[in-house]
């Protein structure tokens, strides 16, 4: 947990006859982070060929992606099967697999076609609906008459042909209402004017007879039997509802179709995925005449396990060579070793924050636990209210549960839950519960300090809060420096340990500078420590920093003989030294002062609550809160939780990334990504 997991490199040779068994065993184990054997710095590695063609792999991957897309329409993820089932390696006939998928796809297309037909009808009706008056009557003239862009036909077709007649008008915007006309129960047909030619043809085909006399149609009209007969608009709306319902049923049908074949498809997916990944693994193999060679990285504690797996899979016919990266002298090796960060599950949100910045280089400290502490303390100091914390906690918890139910991984919601806990703890320390002081504070009353009513304890004024955060900043920066020194010692980088920007000399200067600053403040900004003290504490490290350019030039000369950079130029050296010192002084000063934002946001949080209490007080009657006072307070609390919660979260992240990580973090490591069924594209 403190440092990244220890890794071992495997170089293996297996005979051709065992290569499939070995591949399957390796995929099943899912432990090897493969590397191209050509990366091994040996002459012979360059002359080996790959045993697989990429075309086959591409084809399998395409088929698997097609399946993924079908699954996407359901809430089922085929990869979840991986957790429960053992991989069953079956020989895969790509043609049959593709045919199988095509058949499946064509079934889906059939439903899509039906959906599209319904959609066409919906769109036709919507177009017609746009032309119909929203309320009132639809005026009709004798026989066929035009209004606006619609044509209304009154007349009749034979009763036994009415259904067929209705069906014939499905392909364009039309509404047919049999027997709703006047006393003679004439039929009504409404179409768009542009379709008059087509309509006339159809009317002729069905032997439509125009009605004599003038009729009017109402939006709602009762027939003689006393039943409501819908007007055209109602008819269109009713039909639209019916079609939308049908459309929805098709969507459900499609989901059910995929879900119904879920298990069969998941097995198919497993076959494709295992074949795909087996090819990925084989892609790392290199072939001699009768043997296959491969190499990869494995966590040290799994070495025995993998050793056994390979011996079993090959029946003992394999050659395995294990290497510990620290045995190699090459300083570049740590940058090539994949890094596995091993933190407890509860710290995963913070591990993600670290990974988001970069992967720590192999063998260095994994800062996740420290980041967790600093992040939560910063958040708590900026957002210290138990009530607000409880809300944030519940939001995080609800989000986490919801994501879990949807089988989705989330880093954000667990992080929010943690932030909620931190805010509750600090709220209790500050005695703040939705801005009320329900219980006495365990540390100091933040509200009283901000409003100037705090008279006892170690923190009484705003300056005390600012100083407190400065101390906190110094702690964070010093921790960063200590981690940096440990990393340099671990990597045996002694020059870096002393002269690096976060090295011992810098730490010395920072410590001395900080002490001098506090001395100056303690003496009411009038006196610095004595000259001798300053010379010993600040002067010596400053002078020692001047050696750095010489060391760099010497190292460069050794690495690049004859390079003009290796020539000593006194002016350059002095400039480099001065710039470096300036960077250290200004950088560390601003880094430390940057932590005052923790106080700033904490004060803003309290001030906003105080302001809302004052506004709520204005709405009170006889000193008692009214309904409006409570509404103001609730709205204020919601605003503060949203606004300040976001600010505090972002600022805490910023302080970690820029003030803390910049002191030690080398983020150019490679993440450990073994080829396994859980492997992502």
């Amino acid at each position: 947990m403190i440092t990244t997991a220890s890794m071992r490199q495997l170089i293996a040779a297996v005979p051709e006859q065992d290569v499939d068994d070995v591949t399957q065993a390796l995929l099943q184990a899912g432990l090897i982070h493969f590397i191209n054997i050509r990366e091994i710095p040996t002459e012979w590695a360059l002359h080996l060929n790959s045993p697989v063609s990429s075309a086959e792999g591409d084809k399998i991957r395409d088929l698997r992606r097609r399946l993924d897309a079908y699954f996407d329409a359901t809430d089922f993820s085929p990869s979840s099967v991986v957790e429960d089932e053992k991989i069953n390696f079956r020989s895969l006939d790509l043609r049959t697999a593709e045919k199988h998928l095509d058949e499946f796809g064509s079934e889906i297309r059939k439903v899509r076609d039906q959906q599209r037909q319904v959609q066409d009808e919906i769109m036709h009706l919507k177009e017609l609906k746009r032309q119909l008056p929203e309320t009132g009557q639809l005026g009709l003239s004798t026989g066929s008459g035009g209004r606006s862009y619609i044509t209304v036909h009154t007349g009749s077709v034979l009763k036994e042909r009415q259904e067929e007649f209705d069906e014939a008008f499905k392909d364009f915007p039309a509404v047919y209402m049999p027997g709703v006309g006047n006393e003679q129960e004439q039929d009504i047909l409404i179409t768009l004017r542009r379709d008059n030619d087509r309509t006339d043809t159809l009317l002729k085909r069905f032997g439509w007879e125009d009605a004599p006399g003038d009729i009017r149609i109402h939006s709602q009209k009762e027939d003689r039997k006393g039943i409501d007969i819908p007007g055209p608009l109602e008819k269109v709306n009713g039909k639209l509802e019916e079609l939308k319902e049908r459309q929805f049923r098709y969507e459900v049908k499609l989901k059910e179709f995929v879900s119904g074949k879920k298990h069969e498809l998941a097995c198919f997916w497993m076959d494709l995925r295992s074949a795909e990944l087996a090819l990925v693994i084989k892609g790392y193999y290199r072939k001699t005449e009768r043997t296959y060679l491969f190499s990869g990285w494995i966590p040290a504690d799994k070495q025995k396990n993998v050793n056994e797996i390979l011996i079993n899979a090959s029946g003992g016919r394999c050659y395995l060579e294990w290497h510990n990266p620290v045995d190699r002298e090459d300083p570049e090796i740590p940058k090539q070793v994949p890094v596995q960060m091993r933190n407890p599950k509860i710290l995963k949100p913070f591990q993600s924050l670290v990974k988001n910045y970069g992967i720590p280089v192999y063998g260095s400290i994994d800062p996740t636990p420290v980041v967790a502490i600093f992040y939560l303390v910063m958040f708590g100091l900026m957002f210290g209210d138990a009530g607000h914390g409880l809300v944030v906690f519940l939001v995080g918890l609800a989000g986490s549960i919801s994501m879990k139910k949807r089988k989705k991984k989330s880093i954000l919601f667990p992080l929010i839950t943690w932030c909620g806990i931190a805010a509750i703890l600090f709220g209790v320390l500050f005695g703040s519960y939705f801005g009320f002081r329900l219980l006495p504070p365990l540390w100091f009353d933040y509200h009283a300090v901000v409003t100037g009513h705090h008279e006892a304890g170690s923190v009484r004024t705003l300056t005390d809060i600012l100083v407190l955060t400065i101390y906190f900043g110094i702690t964070v920066i010093s921790t960063g420096l200590l981690i940096n020194w440990y990393n340099h010692i671990k990597m045996k980088d002694w020059t870096g340990l002393i002269w690096d920007k976060g090295g011992i000399l810098t730490g010395w200067i920072y410590g001395a500078g900080t002490a001098a600053a506090f001395y100056f403040i303690a003496h009411e900004y009038r006196e610095f420590p004595g000259k001798l003290t300053l010379l010993l504490t600040l002067g010596i490290p400053v002078l020692l920093m001047g050696i750095k350019p010489f060391i760099e030039i010497k190292r460069h000369r050794l690495e690049h003989p004859g390079d003009p950079f290796g020539k000593i130029n006194p002016l350059n050296i002095i400039m480099e030294w001065l710039v470096e010192l300036l960077e250290i002084f200004s950088g560390y000063l601003s880094n430390t002062l940057s932590f005052m934002r923790v106080a700033g946001l904490g004060i803003a949080h309290v001030s906003l609550m105080v302001a809302f209490f004052q506004i709520a007080g204005m709405a009170s009657v006889d000193g008692k809160f009214t309904v409006w006072s409570w509404v103001i307070l609730i709205a204020g609390n919601i605003l503060v939780i949203g606004l300040e919660g976001l600010s505090a979260g972002i600022q805490a992240l910023r302080l970690n990334y820029y003030e803390f990580f910049s002191k030690y973090f080398i983020g150019n490591g490679v993440a450990y990504e073994p080829v396994s069924m859980r492997h992502k594209d």
Binding site: R66, D72, R116, M123, F172, N196
Partner: protein, 354 residues
Amino acid sequence: MSSQLKAYGFINAKIRSRLGRLLSEDTINNLLKCGTIEEVITSLKATVYASYLDLYASTGDIRAVEFALYAHEIETVFNILKYMTGSSADFVQALILRYEVDMVKNALRIWFDINIRKHQSGDRNIYLYHEKLINPVNLDGIINARSSGDLLEAFENTPYLETVRRNLEIINAGKQMFALELELDGLFYENLSGKMKNLVQMDRRIAERIISVEVDLQNIDRIVRFVSFYDSNTRSLYKAFLTGGTISESVLREAYKQTEAEEAMRVLLSGSYTKYRGFTGEHHSSPYVRLNLVEGLLRQIQVDEAGGLLHGYPFTIGTVIAYVFLKRKEIRMLIKIINAKFYRMAEDKIRETL
């Protein structure tokens, strides 16, 4: 300078944040590799287009997706317009006119099919954008017009009335719409050019540069199309090119007179676009392939120009124009990919058309 900052500060920040949401090269490559439309939907799940593509799941109709994307494009420009004032707002509004002209042209084509060619309207009108953009164009009136009078009535109180009236006779006699469509495009560029003149100097310079490139591209595209597909007699009936580009009218006329598309291209690229001349001369294939190549070239020129606008001084109309262009290009490309995947086109064929 401070007024420029005031005018474009907010919209520039807004656009810059949206630029990050444009599809990356990797996403586009992934889309092209997709085998089915379902894969396209999955690939775009985490993008702004997810909700539009979900329409395919609920309707099974790619035209519904296409229509929603088109509406999103228009909405994007209107959203930008909301944050602009004065002459720059007028200019953006003039850009919106492009969509209105497209809508008018689409409606006219439907009317033309029904009334002149005596074809059925089909389903093209199902997904016609009907919202009012700038002018009160009565699209239903156009589609449902049964006579020339009805048609002109639908254009009342719009700037298109006279253009349509002027062309009605040609349409009825020649049974084609080219001339009218060309004039409508001309109307758009004329209006745009008028609004451009009111912009402040710095904006005007930028807008003129990008619009003149667009006019050039329109002219190159049209001339190459006409030379590829029509004989000189037919060509003489139309005024195929627009004014306002960097290619002089004499060069345009010269190119228009050519009998071979390659020759026309050579003439057209002899001025401002000499660096693209290597593109022509070797493609003695079908006119369609040539046209594809030309379109590819024109798209490249536009991308180069828009990219350039984003790298200069940020508080100008340039950022707005570049974003509108890039968004338009992205949506057009997406529509092409969706259609291509629906009809199972191969990846390399799709690439040719992008």
